[in-house]
């Protein structure tokens, strides 16, 4: 049974018909072919599927595509603007905030909201903000550094 949905993804308007059981992450990956959003578990634990939906970081494995109707979504592919990496992407690159890279898009999207809510977080606040994201490779240290790096850059930008 198809459910019509209309969403904006990375600034592009998309209309589709989805199965009522289709998860948002499946819609993003399989229909829109935006495979940067990953699936690491099926219990909302790992955070690899995190996207920004109407300004909030959400785990897209826990949202039905049908219930995303009308929403504005940003995935990892929509973060860089005009070929310029987002400060968080720059931070993860500069600080080696990754190894295998599978958790990276989810980490970055989680951090987008983290810095949105708290542009100058302390290390403890960054660590707290990442509580819903697993990384099995890096031990998190360079991920924390990467987010801190980006927060300094935000500061530079906002102080012009």
């Amino acid at each position: 049974m198809g459910v019509p949905i209309s969403v904006t993804v990375n600034g592009q308007h998309r209309e589709s018909e989805v199965d009522s059981r289709t998860l948002l992450v499946q819609f993003i990956r399989e229909e829109l072919r935006l495979t940067g959003t990953h699936v690491g578990c099926d219990t909302s634990s790992c955070g690899a599927c995190t996207i920004i939906m109407d300004g909030k970081a959400v785990k897209s494995c826990t949202v039905l595509a049908a219930s995303a109707n009308g929403s504005d979504i940003t995935t990892i592919e929509g973060l860089a603007q005009n070929g310029e990496l987002h400060p968080l992407q720059e931070g993860f690159k500069e600080e080696h905030g990754l190894q295998c890279g599978f958790c990276t898009p989810g980490m970055i999207m989680t951090a987008v909201q983290l810095l949105e809510d708290n542009p100058q977080p302390s290390e403890a606040e960054i660590r707290h903000g990442l509580e819903g994201n697993y990384c099995r490779c890096t031990g998190y240290h360079n991920i924390v550094k990467a987010i801190y790096h980006a927060s300094r850059k935000y500061k530079e930008v906002s102080h012009g």
Binding site: T35, G36, S45, L130, N133, Y134
Partner: protein, 782 residues
């Protein structure tokens, strides 16, 4: 073979650095000086693949989508032990949207009867989660609906999933004959030819370091002190963020397999064997993979199933495991009950070590405790007996220093206990018993950084929250994979590429290769395109056993060196000099005698007679020869880790406050990547020490926590401060003298934490994970 003599750096800078002269094949490149004198090697070079990974452009196996692709799913047994009388696939096959079905005739990745005469039509079920059949359908959901329609008629049999229960005479048997396992997948497997009695196979008594030595009885007689203790470790599951899986694209004369694998070559070879294809017609691609840690060396049952479904349906098949399947079927670090008896003289010299262990890799082999007790300390008398115990549970698999992590947990606590018995500082005891020069330097540099001298007597911290300090050390052999080849190509348009089938498991192999080639060619790492993870290129080593860097960087350098000589030949006459007088630096080719005679590297490429030139090199034998066979090189990779913990004696909660990790990996190539890997290894060790535990239900034979919800891994909040010291250790054994760090990073952490917990509370906890309950029990508070 023509040879020449070269002088290579030898020793530890700041300690005993010198030179060693070695006779090497004449076509080997000249020796590199120490890292201080190099431009790109040993530096904090940015990852070449970072941009692809931060933008979502990196394609993992699970991201591959091909036209007409179907989704495969497998039916798994819910019962841990059964015979299958019949399987009815007819309803599944007719289900709309299903394109192919297949029933397994045998399953791989587990021990197999040595004499396979009793095999029935279907393989016997030996663990809950064993795959039985599979379907391919338009979507995963349709495939799962079809699985529900498969009718299996089981004859249920009694089962056992507990390590100790399985050893009892009345325990249900997992195997009724002797078994072997060929495909233990990269290091987890046990010795061949051992007998099985009941569910117990073994003992394994020897390793590549040899067999038992000396006379135990005499050794214990000569001891002033004898320590006897038993240590227990749990089953830990790998939890790679990307599950195992493949996409199989079966074309008439070429099968392409996209695989989340740490061993492209092995997946190709296994697929070719199963489907009786020439290896040259099977191509395996791994551009990016989401972790492996040792469990992803093989094609696996999922890969075999995807192959059959692709062959039958004529369409590409994607088959990725889900998280539950990953926990129950794709590997784990086996548990252990590890008995140690160690004799020592008053001065700390060891007189005898006796080791016996029992562990279960479920239906697989490889539950030993490794070789650390055999090799790390000087003891003239030594014996080990390591037994595999079969249970009706998913097979173990290699994982970062297989066996040795379990073994180190026991041995290094025993050494801590022994030090206390002998009234010696744990470091002083090791200075007496451990002859490794690198570990000696690491112990003392680490102790200074960690401020080991502030360590107090056990349980002497007043108050409810007690601090404790502990240390532990480890050994990992330098393993070299000779069948490792790299090709370097240069193109007239200025591009320089390195190609090899070696894969990047995520640690940064691509970046390391770009550094090595750039160093040799006088270019920058970003000038080098790294094309790896594809079996169309020359075979590379598996990403396991900390093998990759030591195996593929020397051929990478040598191929670049050969290519450079070809280019010199082509430009020498133009520069009016002899090719032997040319050198590279900073993007230029110039005469060593007259620096005005020069040409930019890229300009030289434009002048080439052909559109591209290419040079290939394979891993040379180690300079000076191998210690064992052609794989184990002289001198282990030593590491020492220090842990500071605080233990809440009211709640039993252990918090690791700080780790100082001191490591060596020969010539370090990328400092930041090494640090990142050590951080990760320490944190896997911390999860092992405190949290992670596969919980089996004895009543149903199922894993109770086969998810990320209840299987507890460390999160960002639980991470201690980690300070890393990397000690350069030159041994002059190859053209790069570099080695890996994956295994060493992970070995000593749990023992260091356990020793620190003992120092905090004065009571030793002999079993990990060290949960609050175990701490309170140890303190007699529950």
């Amino acid at each position: 073979m023509d040879t020449k003599k070269i002088k290579l750096p030898h020793g530890i800078p700041g300690h005993n650095l010198g030179q060693i002269e070695r006779e090497v094949p004449a076509d080997e490149p000249p020796a590199w000086p120490v890292n201080d004198e190099l431009k790109h090697v040993g530096k904090r070079v940015k990852r070449t693949d970072a941009e692809a990974k931060v933008t979502g452009a990196a394609k993992f196996t699970s991201d591959i989508q091909l036209p007409g692709m179907l989704y495969g799913r497998m039916l798994r047994s819910d019962y841990p032990h059964a015979k299958i009388r019949s399987i009815d696939m007819s309803a599944a096959e007719k289900h709309p949207g299903v394109y192919a079905v297949h029933i397994f005739k045998n399953v791989v990745g587990m021990a197999q009867p040595a004499d396979d005469d009793a095999a029935g039509e279907y393989p016997d079920i030996k663990f809950a989660g064993q795959p039985i059949a599979g379907v391919a359908a338009l979507t995963t959901e349709i495939a799962e609906e079809a699985l529900d329609l498969i009718k299996v008629d089981y004859e249920y049999l009694p089962f056992v999933v507990d390590l100790e229960e399985a050893q009892k005479p009345e325990a249900p048997l997992v195997f009724t004959t002797n078994v072997e396992q060929d495909d233990a997948g990269g290091g987890g497997g046990g010795d061949t030819g051992l007998k099985t009695v009941g569910n117990v196979r073994g003992p394994s008594t020897s390793s590549f370091y040899g067999g038992p030595r000396g006379d135990l009885e005499k050794g214990f007689e000569e001891a002033d002190t004898i320590l006897e203790q038993t240590y227990r470790t749990q089953v830990q599951t790998h939890c790679s963020l990307e599950t195992h899986g493949v996409v199989v694209d079966w074309k008439p004369d070429n099968v392409t397999i996209y695989a989340s694998t740490q061993n492209t070559k092995n997946v190709r070879d296994e697929f070719a064997e199963v489907f009786d294809l020439p290896k040259s017609q099977v191509r395996v691609i791994q551009e990016y993979m989401g972790g492996g840690f040792g469990a992803k060396h093989s094609l696996g049952n999922f890969g075999v199933m995807a192959g059959y479904l692709a062959k039958k349906s004529g369409r590409p098949i994607k088959l990725m495991l889900d998280r539950r399947e990953e926990h129950i079927s794709s590997g784990n670090r086996p548990n252990s009950i590890h008995y140690l008896k160690i004799g020592a003289r008053k001065d700390g010299k060891l007189t005898a070590i006796q080791q016996r262990s029992y562990g279960t890799a479920g239906v697989g082999l490889g539950a030993g405790v490794g070789r650390i007790a055999q090799i790390m300390y000087e003891s003239p008398n030594f014996s080990t007996e390591q037994y595999d115990v079969f249970t009706h549970a998913g097979p173990g698999a290699a994982w970062r220093a297989p066996g040795n992590v379990q073994g180190c947990y026991g041995l290094e606590q025993a050494m801590d206990e022994l030090a206390e018995k002998l009234n010696l500082d744990p470091i002083a005891l090791r200075d007496v018993t451990d002859t490794s020069e690198i570990r000696k330097v690491e112990r003392h540099r680490g102790a200074e950084t960690f401020k080991w001298s502030r360590r107090k007597l056990p349980a002497s911290d007043p108050g409810l929250i007690k601090k404790g300090l502990g240390m532990a050390q480890s050994h990992w052999p330098r393993i070299v994979h000779i069948d490792s080849t790299a090709e370097v190509r240069a193109f007239r348009d200025g591009a320089v590429e390195i190609r090899s089938a070696v894969q990047d498991i995520g640690t940064g192999t691509k970046t390391v290769l770009s550094q090595v080639v750039a160093e040799e060619l006088g270019l920058k790492p970003e000038d080098i395109t790294v094309r790896i993870g594809d079996t169309l290129f020359p075979d590379g080593p598996p990403s396991g056993g900390s093998i990759v860097t030591g195996s593929i960087t020397p051929p990478a350098r040598n191929a670049a060196y050969k290519l450079k000589l070809q280019l010199f030949d082509q430009v020498a006459s133009k520069l009016e000099t002899d090719a032997s007088k040319l050198a590279v630096d900073d993007g230029q080719i110039m005469s060593t005698e007259d620096p005005s005679k020069k040409i930019a590297f890229k300009e030289a490429l434009k002048e080439m007679r052909t559109g591209q030139i290419s040079a290939t090199a394979s891993r040379s034998d180690d300079y000076g020869g191998f210690m064992v066979g052609n794989a184990i090189a002289y001198g282990g990779l030593g590491s020492v880790q220090f842990a500071e913990v605080s233990v809440d004696t009211e709640t039993g909660f252990v918090k690791v406050e700080k780790i100082v990790a001191v490591h060596s990996c020969g010539r370090p190539i990328n400092i930041t990547q090494i640090e990142n890997q050590i951080n990760g290894g320490v944190i896997q060790g911390l999860g092992y020490a405190l949290y992670e535990d596969r919980v089996m239900d004895n009543e149903t034979g199922h894993q109770m926590n086969s998810n990320f919800d209840q299987y507890k891994m460390p999160l960002s909040l639980e991470i201690p401060d980690i300070e890393i010291l990397i000690v350069e250790d030159y041994s002059g054994r190859s053209s790069t003298d570099a080695y890996g760090i994956g295994e060493p990073a992970n070995i000593a952490t749990a023992a260091a934490v356990a020793n620190a917990v003992y120092n905090a509370i004065g009571t030793r906890i002999f079993e990990i994970p060290i949960t609050p309950e175990k701490v309170l029990r140890a303190l007699n508070k529950v």
